[in-house]
Symmetry: D2
Subunit: 470 residues, 4 copies
């Protein structure tokens, strides 16, 4: 899926390690796939919070000079692709403020569905907002709480918000991890010597060689301070894990929601082959995200796996599109078919999902032009027909091709010979989801939390009207 | 005075001109001497506020691309040298937020003496702070006001703050100028065709060829919107204009508090010559700020004026000090005596003030090494013995040489042959201050508003403890 | 092979297209894998040569503003990893000068073995050198030639140099492509409408949708001007194509030396499996370069292919290594094993080559720590035991692990259970090399052109001694 | 003179001091007024030359990191405003190359009148040129010389060039200063402990506290190496010092050609008052360059000196001109009259020269608008009617207002009440020029060396045609 749904964020934190900001930098690097627009780190040395936040990629933002200034044994960090609030410096996280009890920083992965309502109410009571991120709301709520302990204030605040949140708070001498009762977004706990580590994915623990302990449970609050770790259950767990983390978002080397991602994706590919077999010569993945499912499909079908589409590693975000009118330019910069390889072959193209369909069509054109005799598209997830309100940047419903067209119509649009998706039952089987503990609203439209009535583009416009900082 | 007191800020605004942000850019350029650490412009096109703020000098921060994005017929701007809050991006003005009534931006020249108290009270009521500037306080007060009109909200807010403020507010469709009842900082009103212009100094009106109308009065609020200009008197005028604006801060080509700055400084020099004559061969200013007083001194005394100290125009803030141990390096980069010129001469050095005394001593060394037979230092203001709490960045009391030492002791420290200051009475005569309408607390310690009990470094530390963003 | 041999350069040129510099920018982007240190484009509009050259990656160096200034219908470009001359701005290509006949630019892929000798001779005759690139030599020779036509001057110049060169020259109204008689480096000719295109690899033709015509032949000179294309045979072809282009350097989607790269690599993997079978559970490539051979090995052996090592796409060159002592850090940033996947498995790791062996050892450690029961390393080329003098940045002989150690000793060093390389005969079979037209000196030490007697580090030191520009 | 003639260059060198590059950085800083487009330093540690050169101002180009890399006890530096060759990076000096005897760098202040001829001849003999600076020619000549010693090679080279040159060469272990027989440009020798220092002006010696020894004589070559200093007379001295150095270019605190610049300028002002008295109320300089002459004029005439035009210190080169149509914008950014000061006054404006006249006219408008009753312009040099070919960037003859118009016509153009220039005899008297040792060709057209027949814009165009690097 080159025509990506975009993951919004990754969070990472360390409490109690002399190299806290260095480790957080590494952790964010391992989570870079979860957000490439901006990043930030806030450190604490027990008395002062220090931060550095910037637009850009982790390795461009930080250097040793900056990391050396982020002193202290505690740090949290954030990588971001904006879901709420525009892509502006003021919207970069972690969000840091001063309130009655001192300093506090927050890094947030998720999305509040009642943000507009809460913001209106807070402004009505005299609050001022400096960003357009819904994350700012939770800090206002926390600061306005009448509770005296930070834990109770956080309890107050998250009781008011509805939606998806895997959050890390950092004060002068505490780090707090909170996960919403549905556990939409992943959040795991690890240990590195005497330090505790919290991360969106396990691959970040691997990089710093921290030991994986367990997931932060849905509805749980974990407080880490100099006395160690204390866990509280704020809400009963109503597990609705985001199924798309397994299909596309998380790194294949992570273990997410107790599943190994690579193995889950291979199994989806196997099940896809069982459900939608086709006679062909080769199985070719759309790299890199389609690779595990394609291997699974190839194994199950016995048709050879071939890496026939080559991906360029040098496509950055600053790439300029020269003016000339070359067809399908965007995709050509990223992918190129192996010369002469497809000639006369019956090809199965395996990808993880289709969003708008335009990219898939360009890939099919490209493979067709390379001489393929037949092209059979196989998608290792069901049709993505409903937008996500829990932290994934989906286009509006009308832009999702599967929301308006049948599989047959999509096949026609793509110009493929055949098109087939994995069934929702097949998907659940692949991930051994007997307990129905996953959110699959993007496929079914069955939303665990009601989306905002007045959502989407209009709501964002209202927000943006107030302040649009260059 | 190379060893400067630092002016904190300059503000500039335009309402009703199609090139509002271009004009604001020019206005800020003319006010650059009032603050070189950071600058910003916020524009409004009637519906949206847009801003660009950055560390650095005006001409480095803005380019045509950026100005082109700051669309709209209304704009306010700010140049800053930090007096409260550290020199960090988040402390750059104009400050822009969203509150219950929409967007609002503020540019502030001055300092609140009860900032700590107000901030504590606001945080106690649940407010969160993202900067360490006292300017943020006034926006919280305004947002929390129960009044419905913006004017009444501003009235509410400024009734709570004590201290110096010449402020400009900008909303989607209003620009409001407010000046504290003492009128510590200057603020003038001008007109350019159909547009109104507000500026810290008249030199910015000159640059854009706007017509000078009048000063915004102490205690006055001026509201400019599409219906034109409406002025209100919030408080009775208690004129206590900052006398240092005339001595050093304002540009000599400005008219400030109804006085022509260049003429006032020349008159100080004349009066200085009357009070403290000395037999000598030449009168030499410390350029550029000492020039007008030196011309006055030379005229009154009949001793020739000579530009014997040459100032380099290329000393920027990024200049690195090579490691080698050359004596008096900092001053040498900025000033050099004309070769062979001082040999055997009896020299009167005229400067506007002495802060710590270290720079003056280096200049005297330099002139002595150039062969001067006698060096008589004449200062065109009284000894600066008390810190300012109304918007000037003075060092703490103990660092002000005149707070601990007599003129004779200072003369000994400087190694000059004689040293004399202008008397406070002589100063008042020079500026025709019959009505006692000036604040001269830095000379007399008679503060119009009581300074914070727990002021200076300690207060700042408390502030900074909460959040110190790299 | 993460512990890479580094390709030195890629060249690209367009003659006769109104978007020449835009197309060259795209071409260089497609050749980015051939050199990531610096890049440059020189354009010609018939009367003036214009250039932009800089350190960095193609997409960072150029923007639309810069490309718009590179006007003209003709352009050549270059991407570079330095092999001769240090990584300094002055060594960035294309090299542009003025000589008696006007302006001339050159982009060079290759290396001269008699550079030191020629440079000494030229300097002895009064030439001055501004770079440390051997490319500068060819321009001096060309300028000093007594011939009148450019073609003859180029003939003169290349008759004097010995070594590898695929070069593009651009004057105000001619583009000339030259390839050494051995044809070490690839160089192909294409056509886009009325324009001619020359490129190091076909993948760059694909991107701009140019039609592939043929290779520039070894020993051939091709002149393109407004009268069209004229080809000359300067020297008889002595084909000794660089075999490493097929093993590792070229992109798998290119057709190089008449071979499809991806297919050749898969065939090497198949042959490797035939020569060195082993009983195991999975075949895992070192991504991305080991993928095609691993697929071939898996197919031939019947052992399942698994993408068990996940590569990070965000490792740039500016990545800072935090100070903490994590073992095998460099590799961990790039690769991570799929969690839990290797437990108890017998693993075949397939890579294309081993240079120093240190990286391979770290990968083996990593897989071992992930629980692998057995690790069998299979390399799809023979042991790299001899340095290259024809344009590849190999370490000195002593640093090449295969130059000093037997396969058994290397296996011990790597801590693998078994290690096997593809045989030289197997390699030749894989690429259907009946005509012995490949240079395999890096495996055999049989150099087609005698290397400089006093080569390697010492020669470079002599060069660098003369001018080392920061 | 805000509408400047532009000085082309300043050179500075240190031999034998452990902080050679730091000192050179400081020296260049003191010479910044001689060239603000680019700067560079080359250092030598006895075996290797290292350089850093860049577009921009000295304090922007260098930081401690860069200076720390420029190791060695010897260094030369250069600041530049381009006179020959365009303002491109490749034209930045010092120019550094490798030739048969090792590395050599050169920093050049001046201009060769036979550059085109020499360059054609060199290219005809096979030389290639990488810059468009005439400085490159001297290095080619030196490299091509058959002499064995460097001194003799330099002798060979400078015997071929005609024109103005004050040059510094640096090799691995020698620094050589050369000045043309006319001595057009200044060059002085100083000493700092055991080190020798060479500089364009004495103000740079002052800054690093070096002792002034003497001028490098016209026609002299001075070689400094580890054996100390050796001076040779290459040519007999034909003193024709550039009179404009005393009028405008050099800093007033420098001693140039044996004259104190400030005193010379004051004396010009005095002589101007004697020659061209006028009844008026105040004497106002165009700051900063007109200040010394204005003081002299005021003293001699007895009319009070007033600093009535205030100069902004914040006008950098990156200043963008907003689009709006404000009259006389460029000057207004730099100068503003003191408010209300000129009302009804008869004003004498003193400036050092008039180039095109457009700026002077804008200043007169400005002063007239400020209310002046009469404006009398007095220029402390004769009419500038002829272009310079010896290192000053004068416009073409037709652009020099005094080449085509009489004083009376210029007065009319300026809209001043009266206009008068210092006479050529008066100028010579002021500088005690009994020996006729100054070049005053810009006033008289009597060129000491015949200018190139085919000079000016056309010659430059030919040069630039060959290579124009973006």
């Amino acid at each position: 899926m080159l025509d990506k749904l975009r993951e919004e964020c990754g969070v990472f934190g360390v409490y109690g390690h002399p190299e806290a900001s260095n480790l957080t930098y590494l952790g964010l690097h391992a989570l870079q796939h979860r957000g490439q627009e901006s990043a930030g780190i806030v450190s604490s040395d027990g008395t002062i919070l220090r931060s550095h936040r910037q637009m850009g990629m982790v390795s461009d933002i930080f250097n040793q000079d900056i990391l050396d200034k982020l002193i202290g044994c505690n740090a949290i960090g954030h990588v971001r692709y904006s879901t709420s609030g525009s892509s502006l410096l003021k919207n970069v996280q972690p969000f840091v403020v001063s309130y009655s009890r001192g300093g506090i920083a927050v890094a947030h992965n998720g999305n509040f569905v009642n943000a507009k309502l809460l913001r209106d109410r807070l402004e009505g009571n005299g609050s001022i907002f400096q960003s357009t991120m819904d994350t700012e709301i939770v800090i206002h709520l926390l600061a306005a709480s009448r509770e005296s302990s930070l834990l109770d204030r956080i309890g107050d605040a998250v009781s008011a918000v509805k939606g998806a949140y895997s959050m890390l708070f950092l004060t002068e001498n505490e780090m707090i991890a909170v996960r919403d009762p549905y556990g939409f977004r992943p959040l795991v706990l690890g240990r590195l010597k005497d330090a505790y580590v919290v991360s969106s994915e396990t691959c970040a623990l691997d990089l710093i060689e921290a030991e994986y302990i367990r997931e932060i449970e849905p509805g749980e609050v974990v407080l880490i301070d100099d006395n160690g770790l204390t866990a509280y259950k704020l809400f009963p767990s109503l597990n609705r894990f985001c199924i798309f983390e397994l299909i596309y978002f998380s790194r294949p080397d992570s273990t997410v929601f107790g599943r190994n991602v690579y193995t889950a994706r291979k199994e989806m590919g196997r099940q896809l082959a069982r459900e939608n077999p086709v006679d062909a010569d080769i199985v070719v993945p759309v790299p890199d995200s389609g690779i595990p499912a394609a291997i699974g499909y190839a194994e199950e079908s016995g048709i050879p796996f071939e890496a026939g589409l080559i991906r360029s590693h040098y496509v950055g975000r600053t790439f300029i599109e020269p003016r000339q009118s070359i067809r399908h330019f965007g995709v050509k910069l990223k992918l190129n078919p192996v010369k002469g390889f497809f000639k006369g072959k019956r090809v199965i193209i395996v990808d993880d999902s289709i969003v708008r369909g335009t990219t898939s069509r360009k890939i099919i054109d490209m493979v067709r032009n390379a001489g393929a005799a037949e092209i059979h598209v196989r998608i290792s997830s069901p049709p993505t027909a409903y937008p996500c309100f829990y932290g994934i940047d989906t286009p509006t419903k009308t832009e999702l091709i599967a929301s308006s067209y049948t599989v047959s119509e999509i096949n026609e649009f793509l110009t493929s010979n055949t098109l087939a998706y994995l069934s929702i039952e097949g998907l659940k089987t692949s991930i051994k989801n007997n307990g129905h503990e996953f959110c699959s609203a993007c496929f079914t439209g069955e939303y665990p939390i009601a989306p905002p009535i007045d959502q989407g583009s209009r709501q964002l416009t209202l927000f943006e009207k107030e302040i649009a900082v260059v």
